[in-house]
Amino acid sequence: MNKKLLNVCNLKSKVEAEKILQGINLEVETGEIHVIMGPNGSGKSTLANVLMGHPEHEITDGKVEFEGENINDLAVDKRAKKGIFLSFQYPQEIPGVTVENFLRTAKTAVTGENQSIFDFKFLLEDKMKLLDIDQSYADRYLNKGFSGGEKKKNEILQMAVLEPKLAILDETDSGLDVDATRTVAEGIKKLASDDNAMIIITHHNQILDYLQPDYVHVLVDGKIVKTGDMDLAREIEKEGYAAYKPEKVEDYKSAKNC
């Protein structure tokens, strides 16, 4: 049975003095794949970062609930421990820290259980095979010298290892060629299950050829202005965002729950 994971109500945020999110309503249940589309600067990445708890973004109104608990003031690492994961658009390079060492530390932190070096090695090997990632990446420094595609694959590897309940994928398909998009999308597909949910932020449809979203949301000027299914994504691909204005918000189901 589907379970409510995320409930975002009238969420408003600012970074420094700039208001970005202008009242977001969004509800996500287990087993669902949500897609958020929107023009550049509409607040897609901000939404991802606010959900993850980026300290520079301040929530000015509304609330974020995860599994029924208000997490507005929860620190980033605590959110990760609850099962929220963000695949970064621009993952940071951390020189001197190997992928394996980093992920073992992260897995220990998220699960609260010590990871034996050997058991973890096998787990990592399995996940790397699943995502068709060369084993040598385990010993490389985190994202250091990785190509754009390698960084994105590495984000999905982290997701596979940490097994979050809610994964937010921020532009995971941007900057990837056709083959890389397919590999990454197939990887995501393998990880999607009835027990977790995904929010995929994209402005391409390519990745949607591999994943069947349950909802497609259009985000313009910090608001979700329309919600639909795959047909909406196809329409936007043809027509662009010109027709979508924040003043013409069509009520989305979770707004009623606020």
């Binding site: 690492d77 959110r79 990760a80 993952p91």
Partner: protein, 467 residues
Amino acid sequence: MSEKTQVEDIDRSLHDTKNENKYRYKSEKGLTPEVIKDISREKDEPQWMTDFRLKSLEIYQQKEIPDWGADLSDLNLDEIIAYIRPDADLQSDWDEVPEEIKNTFDSLGIPEAEKKSLAGVGAQYDSEVVYHNLKEELVEQGVIYMDMENAIKEYEDVVKEHFMQLITPNDHKFSALHGAVWSGGSFVYVPAGVKVDIPLQSYFRFNAPGAGQFEHTLIILEEGAEAHFIEGCSAPQYSINNLHAGAVELFVGENASLRYSTIENWSRNMYNLNTKRALVEEDGVIEWVSGSFGSKVSMLYPMSILKGKGARAEFTGVTFAAEGQYLDTGAQVIHAAPHTTSTVNTRSIAKGGGKAYYRGLLKATENAHHAKATVSCESLMLDNDSVSDTLPIMKLETDDIDIGHEAKVGRISEESIYYLMSRGIDEEEAKAMIVRGFVEPIAKELPLEYAVELNNLISLELEGTIG
């Protein structure tokens, strides 16, 4: 993991075990020719050494305290007692080392280090070496590893030929002071073609309030010889300013290869003004690995003089300055022959208002054609109160030299911390992870137990930095 609110609260009990001071000889405060003569007489030294000490004292009295780098105005040299020797004679058998001193060494892990088949242990307790041992097979190959006092007596000609030839009393006030009051230290001689395949380890330690430490290390590698010398330092903390002005002179023969590793972790009241130099003959190699932690002030710039064609120097260093610390460290390389190469790779970290500077010298003489030098120094500041910078100086008398230089100064990136935290890692561990990664190129050069110690030091330094 135990919680600490400040780095000053680090449990230093391991290093701070003070023994009741039992000294059979203690110099008067301040320095006079009479004190110097007493020191020399007590050591039963040859006349040339007594004369050398007296000449050094004259130079010392004429030299000014350096007015660049760190502030040394709080250093009261008259207060520093030059020479204290423990109530123990040199021992060759561990069982005969006095219990009290043994307990101190036990807590520092010296016997364990030997069990791990280190070739020899020369542990300095205050000013004189009290325990020395060397594997028999090395003795058979002609390797000499002993304390400097005995080396002067047993190998007088070799010592006289090399002693304070690389570092002379005229170099600066503290090398002059060293020449006048030096005491203890290690002498290593490796004959031509002999490869010492296990590291030689020395552990220096203080145990007297106000006592300066002026140990002299002299290492001579003949043609084709190889060795690795590890110098470890730790000191208990006292309220009186302490001074460390040792000297390290390394002679690397043709085709010989020497690695000199140090982690210095002085207590927070120490002035560490050490001088280290290496002279490298044709196709010889000197490798320095240097970690500077602790101390109140450090000014330390090991110099490699590449005298022979094709000689090579490598310097790898890490410096970590926390609150109240001023660490001014770096490497000096002098290319004085054709086809010489040098690589300098350093990392400086500053936190809690600490100051960590890289100060380096790269010099090439006229005949250093086809020389190649690479300098890479990176600084990381963990907060806005700390200062870290790089001050590289180049003096080139030839154009025919290939130089690569890279200097980076930065603060720990909030975005990187956010990224790691988004994977469930808490802020403190995220910072420690980034710092450990930053020094990883250095850590991997260290002997394993030192690499572990380095990581532990970083974790301790970063505990309680949040909030």
